[in-house]
């Protein structure tokens, strides 16, 4: 069975893969795991390729078609599109990814509201273990005990530093193992990011912020001489928070626009 997992750098994709690979090994299967990384810090998706086979069969280190593809962020879809065929099961976080973003030729689309559940149950960084719990339902060859042992093994150092993590992981795994599959016609993607331009007008000044370009470095906020720029609660392209501007304070000096590395902010005097 070939599995591809793709998400944003920092979502824990490689950790899920390492745990699955360990669990397969403990379940007396052959497994190979190939991480694909390099530019996550610069905003590229993180992808993991796992191939599991019975003891007397061989795995494929790099494969062209996946039996299961797991997608945790819509930006990662482009990395795995070629792996998807009508025979592929696509598991995705339906609280952030719109159904319309997914490739049309998919056999089996299985969404679940991972971010919703994670926020509701305060799972925080155990989001990836929640995903793992859900994926495990579709990999019956991995026994539950070997999965839970693998979680503790791979995250051993972190658990030793903070024992609360073990409980959080256990809760996250259970939530994933029992989570409801989203209804196909449920269009509610509560945590999908709205990347439309932010425009505002006040006191003869016009504001433009472009979340689809902004990486949230907040240099604009630091450089603003009148402290008119602060962080907002809106997300940008890389899942970072974009700035907001108090147009009453703002003097349209142009400094934010001068420094912005992403050509994502400008205030003009009308």
């Amino acid at each position: 069975m070939n599995i591809t997992i793709a998400g944003e750098g920092g979502q824990g994709v490689q950790t899920i893969a390492e745990i699955l690979a360990n669990a397969a090994f403990l379940s007396n299967l052959n497994v190979s795991y190939l991480p694909q990384f390099g530019v996550e810090q610069r905003g590229a998706p993180s992808v993991a390729f796992i191939s599991v086979a019975l003891k007397n069969q061989s795995t494929e280190l790099k494969f062209d078609q996946s039996d299961i593809v797991v997608i945790l962020r819509d930006r990662a879809i482009i990395e795995v599109k070629n792996q998807i065929s009508p025979n592929t099961m696509v598991i995705y976080d339906s609280s952030t990814i719109k159904l319309s973003s997914l490739p049309k030729n998919t056999g089996n689309l299985i969404g679940f509201k991972a971010t919703d559940i994670s926020v509701e149950r305060s799972l925080g960084k155990s989001y990836n273990i929640l995903i793992l719990g859900f994926i495990s339902r579709f990999m019956p060859s991995l026994n539950r005990e070997s999965l839970l042992d693998s979680v503790n093994k791979v995250l051993g150092d972190k658990i030793n530093e903070n024992s609360k993590i073990k409980n959080l992981n256990d809760t996250a795994f259970e939530c994933g193992a029992t989570a409801k599959v989203s209804e196909k016609n449920d269009r509610n993607t509560k945590y999908a990011i709205d990347l439309t331009d932010i425009k505002d007008s006040k006191n003869g000044k016009e504001l433009l912020i472009i979340p689809s370009e902004c990486k949230g470095c907040l240099i604009c906020a630091y450089k603003c001489p009148v402290k008119a720029i602060t962080v907002s609660d809106r997300f940008g392209y890389f899942g970072n928070l974009v700035p907001k501007v108090d147009l009453e304070q703002c003097t349209a000096c142009g400094i934010c626009n001068l420094f912005c590395p992403d050509t994502a902010i400008k205030i003009t005097k009308k």
Binding site: V39, Q41, R42, G43, A44, D197, L208, I210, S212, E213, K215, G216, C217, L218, I219, A221, Y222, K223, Y237, F238, N240, N257, L258, F259, C260, P261, D262, T263, A264, I265, K266
Partner: protein
């Protein structure tokens, strides 16, 4: 995608660009893009990038771009200039490509007075490979290969233009500027390109930010840069030969 704030010379297919949040390269390249627009150089200029974070400028502009081997952006730029002497050529490299692996090429381009502009983006570390110590790392600066701070026995901090001035023709233009003052870029880019037009070598070192490897937020990035400006003097450096 909203390109209303971007230079016209930007290639839209590569936006949002691949530089880290808060990267100095992105700031520099934006101002260079507006310079290319203003001087109408989009069909004239050749842009040679190196290995390292500068390679993320691949497909950045709608201009002729070549990506060279590590440290070889400068001789490739020279080659292009010989093939097409009428048009400006920029070699865009990091401090690793210019002062470490490519130092030989830089010194000889200056020695031959090759009429190209070399832009050296200096963030005091080998950034693309994960933030290792470079010749430009400051004493005491923590990097992945100087985890308790750079030891002075490895050199205090490499002053590139100050070395190049010994081999560069008197008519070469050598300068150091910083991303703390982007308003200065148009002037130095203009002077460098004009100096190439009169047949001489130009080099601009730009002190830059690396929030990812410095592990700094916006404020800390700029205060770190300010401390580096005390050690890397800004302004023109007179060529001596």
């Amino acid at each position: 995608m909203n390109n209303s704030l971007m230079p016209k010379s930007y290639k839209l297919e590569s936006k949002p660009h691949l530089f880290c949040p808060g990267c100095g390269h992105a700031m520099i390249l934006k101002h260079l893009g507006f310079f290319i627009d203003e001087r109408k150089l989009v069909d004239k200029i050749s842009f040679v990038i190196d290995i390292g974070c500068s390679l993320l400028a691949w497909n950045f502009y709608d201009v002729s771009t070549v990506q060279a081997h590590h440290g070889r952006s400068i001789p490739v730029a020279t080659g292009i200039k010989f093939a097409d002497p009428e048009n400006p050529v920029i070699a865009y490299t990091g401090d690793g490509g210019a002062y470490a692996i490519g130092l030989q090429s830089l010194i000889h381009a200056a020695y031959r007075n090759d009429p190209i502009t070399v832009i050296v983006v200096n963030n005091t570390n080998y950034a693309m490979t994960g933030g290792q110590m470079a010749p430009t790392t400051i004493v005491g600066e923590k990097t992945t290969t100087s985890p308790s701070g750079k030891n002075i026995k490895y050199g205090d901090h490499f002053l590139g233009p100050e070395l190049v001035k010994k081999t560069a023709n008197k008519s070469a233009y050598l300068t150091r500027t910083s991303v703390s003052n982007p308003n200065n870029f148009k002037k130095v880019f203009g002077r460098a390109i004009d100096n190439n037009q009169s047949g001489n070598f130009s080099m601009i070192e730009i002190l830059s930010l690396c929030p990812t490897n410095w592990k700094t937020n916006a404020e800390a990035s700029f205060s770190t840069l300010t401390s580096f400006e005390k050690l890397y003097p800004l302004g023109e450096i007179k060529a001596e030969r």
